[in-house]
């Protein structure tokens, strides 16, 4: 794995690297580096396979992380290429020209996270959802519980008593450092 990362380092700017397992390394690059890097890897290295493309929402940082997992199917090892893009008006270059199946990934990400891949064929075409009018649901700020309560009313008759609260109440738990206790 070291060799391939050294090769990458010789050509591209790598922000960080981490060896997770003997057969799995991870590198971080700038968004602009991703497509040139992946193109080079597909054409000039054994890492020809795109296993998957995934997004992680780092809401607190205001960033999305895109993770491209490339595999060397004959050398039996994988490389995770990670990059971070701003969450606002999130846009990323498409890789569907390199791998046809990336269309589906990019379509789903577009739907679920609201990241736009200009030029990718099925952007804006619903993949899983139908008539969705809320935040892209895989974003961390989409509140599933609130959505559930708004769209699927609870079955009547459910009454739960939380033991922690109940016991405190019954036995007269009180606080004395704050007036509002």
């Amino acid at each position: 794995m070291k060799t391939i990362i050294d090769d990458i380092r010789a050509r591209f700017s790598v922000e960080w690297e981490h060896e997770q397992r003997a057969d799995l390394a991870q590198i971080g690059v700038a968004p602009g580096t991703v497509v040139p890097l992946l193109t080079w890897m597909k054409l000039h290295t054994p890492f020809v396979q795109l296993n998957h493309l995934s997004v992680v929402d780092w809401l607190e940082d205001g960033e999305f992380q895109l993770t491209y997992l490339l595999t060397d199917p004959h050398g039996h090892r994988s490389l995770m290429v990670c990059t971070r893009i701003p969450r606002e008006e999130a846009t990323m270059e498409s890789v569907h020209e390199l791998w046809p199946q990336a269309v589906t990934y990019e379509q789903e990400i577009n739907e679920m996270f609201g990241i736009h891949f200009p030029g990718s064929p099925r952007q804006g075409v619903p993949f899983i959802l139908e008539g969705w009018d809320d935040l892209p649901p895989m974003r961390r700020d989409f509140d599933t519980v609130a959505y559930m309560h708004a769209h699927h009313p609870s079955r009547p008759g459910r009454e739960h008593v939380d033991p922690r609260v109940y016991v405190g109440k019954v036995f007269g738990e009180r606080g004395y450092l704050h007036d509002d206790d």
Binding site: Q49, L69, L129
Partner: protein
Amino acid sequence: MTTTETLRRRVQLWFGPQHPGITGNMSVQAWLEGDTLTQGITHVGYLHRAFEKLMERRKFIQSFPIVCRICVPEPDTNEYLLAAALEELSGLDREVPEKALWIRTLVLEMSRLAAMLQVLGGHVGSMGLGVVPNWTYTLRDYVLDRFEELTGARVYHMYTVFGGVRRDLPEGFAERMETEVLAKIEAKLPVIDNAIFDSSVFRKRAIGVGVVPEEWADEMGISGPVVRAMGIPRDTRKDFPYLKYPELDFEVVTTTGSDIYARAWIRRQEIAQSVDLIRQILRRMPTEGPYCAKLPNMLTWTIPPGQTYVRAEASRGEMGYYVVTDGSDKMRRVHVRGPSYVHGVSLLERLIPGTNIADLSPLMVSLQTCPPEIER
């Protein structure tokens, strides 16, 4: 060209989601010229339950009852992979006891066996030979009986968790597995062979149909019986060894042709391989010792920040879990990469043009598409 001529030339047809020939709840929006498909777009979403999203809002242990639902015929791969990913990220992987590794291998092989019996029946069922699925589903039910005995449930086992498995092997399990399952399968296989592989109906409809070009294998990440039917010996159990597979004696089954027949043949061979592997496992498994590591309090367990990708060979091909942790008691992100995501969408859509409408069902079965795995 008249309107009638256009209509005759090009008809749009929704194949599924309610169709006996479809594999699970999905549909193919197909365009036909005559009875030949010119284009197909797959549609999923009928089973979407936002598993990945739900798991981001649940404690690690609470994700177990969820992941098994990602594949009905083969839930255990999901359970194992979630456990493996989180064990790797938490360092718990070093604590998993020997016996648990064996039981996990057993469970994975049992689930592969059950799933392959089901899909082998599906192969011929999709061509209208209803009797063979009756046999294979029955054989699958025998495997489920053992699952019920081992895990407490027939379909959603919820059995493999962090640190090991949830219960020990019951006494006499190995004997019952032999007499109630393996022997019965072996007795039936020749009959099945005769009814499938020797059948002129099957041969006519399977040989040379749905051929996947070999050059797609690498770039698309095609795996499982589909890639092995191209003659490529690619198998996660050998290429990225996990659990006790390195200690088991088996060869990767391959054949050539890359058509429906070849894929069915691979599955037939792998049923026999699974039977053999289960025998090996039960023979070599330690009888004593713990089946689960000592676990921390699962209600408060936190895992340090990290990300990993783990994979295992499901009956359909390479199943992978991409898991990101952020130091909290929940996953930041879990991405389930099932083989169907590629096989059932991109590959299927690439194979559809030129296919006869009657061959669409057998084609989908041969790709062994599992829609919940696409939607998660």
